[in-house]
Symmetry: C2
Subunit: 196 residues, 2 copies
Amino acid sequence: MVNYPRGIFSSIEHSISHQNKIIFSDRGMTLEQQINESNEYYLNHNIAVIHKKPTPIQIVKVDYPRRSRAVIKEAYFRQASTTDYNGVYRGYYLDFEAKETKNRKSFPLKNFHEHQIIHLQKCLEQKGICFAIIRFVTLNRYFITPASYLIRMWYSNSKKSLSLIDIINNSYEIKSGYNPTLSYLDGVDKFIIDRI
Amino acid sequence: MVNYPRGIFSSIEHSISHQNKIIFSDRGMTLEQQINESNEYYLNHNIAVIHKKPTPIQIVKVDYPRRSRAVIKEAYFRQASTTDYNGVYRGYYLDFEAKETKNRKSFPLKNFHEHQIIHLQKCLEQKGICFAIIRFVTLNRYFITPASYLIRMWYSNSKKSLSLIDIINNSYEIKSGYNPTLSYLDGVDKFIIDRI
């Protein structure tokens, strides 16, 4: 019946009310906000160029009022065909998805949509650095989890979710902090070294 | 007075009326359509993962009619902060902008917006493979022009446009064809070799 891509609502809320930035703490920030702020920091300090992709929209009707901006009057959300983030860092192509859970002990694999898994697989085949940033909100813990591991678990029939221990054993833990808000490239550096 | 990013109108027209694909010829196709079709070909053949970024939209009002899809009722175009295309190819980060001109002898540099030039410069610093695909519509000629050259010309006070000869001498010419519609990775391959 109702048919729109999952995750749409949080994007909308985010784009409407992204004003109150809490700069010196991760309290109250979504993972997306933390990553966006960190990307801004990385960009401004010439460390990496990573952007969140805009939500894809199908535009149906646009008004052009005189002497003012064009207004979109009818449009629909479209299903994305990629992950949310990509960019370049020291010659490496980075591609990742950000996911958070309020669970304390496990991360449900249904947080990933099939198109994201397929996209990560395709990027891996092209030798991209592909991963997820997973946040356990209530534990205040963050992980860089390689896509190769996630894809294997996603296609394994026996796994419906990853335990916290699974994630600890197969990821690079990262810390939230001040500048940047979430220095996820620290984890990516370790991942790149292990991968080579 | 009227204040919206340049290039917006063509995107709108494109997203509204993208139906009539002419598959076996470049006649009637915009450069964007040719690139999108080629990207689809490259993706389906596991050659590269390159996507056009969605147009960034600021959503203001959304309706959620019962039993049907969410409808965006008020939204505005936002200025993009990147180029239109990026992705991964054989471990390389690719980033580019597509531009076409109806001129026969020169390409006006004002076709590039400052944010695109800045973004290409930042990606170059991260060792990305950065370029523009330039199409001379009436000549039916296509070029992969390295970003480093474009950036230098953009910041040179003496140049308002690049002559066709300038572009020939500083680019890799590519050909339109059948599968893919525009095999631009042929030019990228040469560019990568020269760059190393």
